[in-house]
Symmetry: C2
Subunit: 121 residues, 2 copies
């Protein structure tokens, strides 16, 4: 039974190419997910962190959307180039990457640190 | 910006029909997701709870798998008939539905209650 310390969902929702809202799939969601899985594997974190595809996270105007649980930190406009920082700073280090955070996350209050990963688990 | 009090992921991962592991898609994942969305909407909870498709949650032997965040409670063998109880007892009432919980969830310790939903938010 998994007991992931962090569980990361990457939106790969697809809409028709000409849909006015666009979609994370056409904005690079699958590439972001692939890079995330690759970096997690390279860091040896497969047993304590899981990355998953997700359906629409309802942030279609915010580029590729990623949400990290259990803390529920929402990131937007995430690109492949952002993934190493997201992994090392947030997933491993427990500090939110503020420059990628979506605005207005009242559930977080002032919290931007969430505890470091314990890769032994 | 969403600030969901609970965020529910339903595995709809698809493998070939003859794959030995099977897959949540062929075991009814999409029907479970549809029922969950329908019941949440009927309860007027769309603004404080979100239900999403998810890729493989790595519990392929456990029937349709559902995980509820932020508490990370894992449920297995979930059917359409289980959804009203899952919504009313856990999503709204904050009490885990023990009969559906996957075994061995050490991250929960003894916790089975997680706070009631505040539908005003």
């Amino acid at each position: 039974m998994p007991s992931f310390q962090r569980h990361v969902f990457v939106c790969i929702n697809e809409r028709p190419e000409d849909h006015p809202k666009g979609s994370c799939k056409h904005r690079g969601g699958p590439d972001v997910r692939d890079e995330l899985k690759k970096v997690l594997k390279a860091r040896g974190l497969g047993k304590c962190v899981r990355a998953n595809n997700s359906g629409c996270l309802d942030q279609c105007e915010q580029g590729v959307t990623v949400v990290v649980y259990p803390e529920q930190v929402w990131y937007g406009h995430v690109t492949v180039a952002d993934i190493p920082e997201l992994v090392d700073k947030h997933i491993v280090g427990g500090e939110a990457v503020e420059r990628l955070m979506l605005p207005d996350q009242p559930h977080l209050g002032d919290r931007r640190t969430f505890g470091k990963l314990d890769p032994i688990k």
